[in-house]
Amino acid sequence: MEAVDRIAVCETPLDVAGEYAALQGSSGDGACALFVGNVRDFNAGRDVCGLALEHYPGMTEKSLQGIISDARSRWPLGRVTIVHRVGPMQINDEIVFVGVTSPHRQAAFAACQYIMDRLKTEATFWKHETISDQSGNTLQRWIEARASDAAEMEKWSAG
């Protein structure tokens, strides 16, 4: 088990196949859990034409590093990768890739989910959508944070 972290914030499309190959490549671990989030074509009742993400350079990377460190203190992990896209993107584009290897399946799943739950509530990214209303007009709208994401984080404190 080789502990290597990869954190990247990028404006280019995510290369899921490449990230997976690098993650699994020489990890020596038996288990690999991955999560990929992408732009949905429907959100809160209106059609999404496109989406853009901004972030807080410096703080983002620092918060992601802190999340990975905390995950490593909870589970035996090999490689951990977080890649998050920023800038303008289209429907079905991949926004985030989280990959974790571990000798143990349950640890890989738990760590991957933990990282996503914390990323959602702590990492300094903000989305805004371009939406078209029924008359065909487009407008920009900042996505509101969801209470359900905060609720998901609660379960990690209880344990």
Binding site: E54, H55, K62, I95, M116, A123, W126, W142, A145
Partner: protein, 81 residues
């Protein structure tokens, strides 16, 4: 000198992404009050209950001490992932 950054909806509401406080000393709460006094139209936005504050890239509270050279940021709840 303290650099203050604004992000996302808050950045658009204030119409700027950063401001500089040349000579500030006090808590993060004091800093926010100073900004609101300088820009009365910012107060309803900066004092919204859901606005987060960061000090040198870490989440911070109104009681935290701000020193010369620090970087402060105000932003709404995050929505990445």
């Amino acid at each position: 000198m303290v650099k203050v950054l604004f992000f996302a909806r808050l950045r658009q509401q204030l119409g700027r992404e950063e401001t500089i406080l040349a000579d500030f000393s006090g808590s993060l709460g004091d800093l926010r009050e100073t900004l609101c006094e300088q820009h009365p139209d910012w107060r309803p936005h900066l004092q919204r209950e859901d606005i987060r504050m960061a000090l040198n890239h870490a989440l911070a509270n109104t009681g935290d001490r701000v020193r010369a050279g620090d970087e402060v940021a105000f932003f709404p709840p995050v929505t990445g992932g």
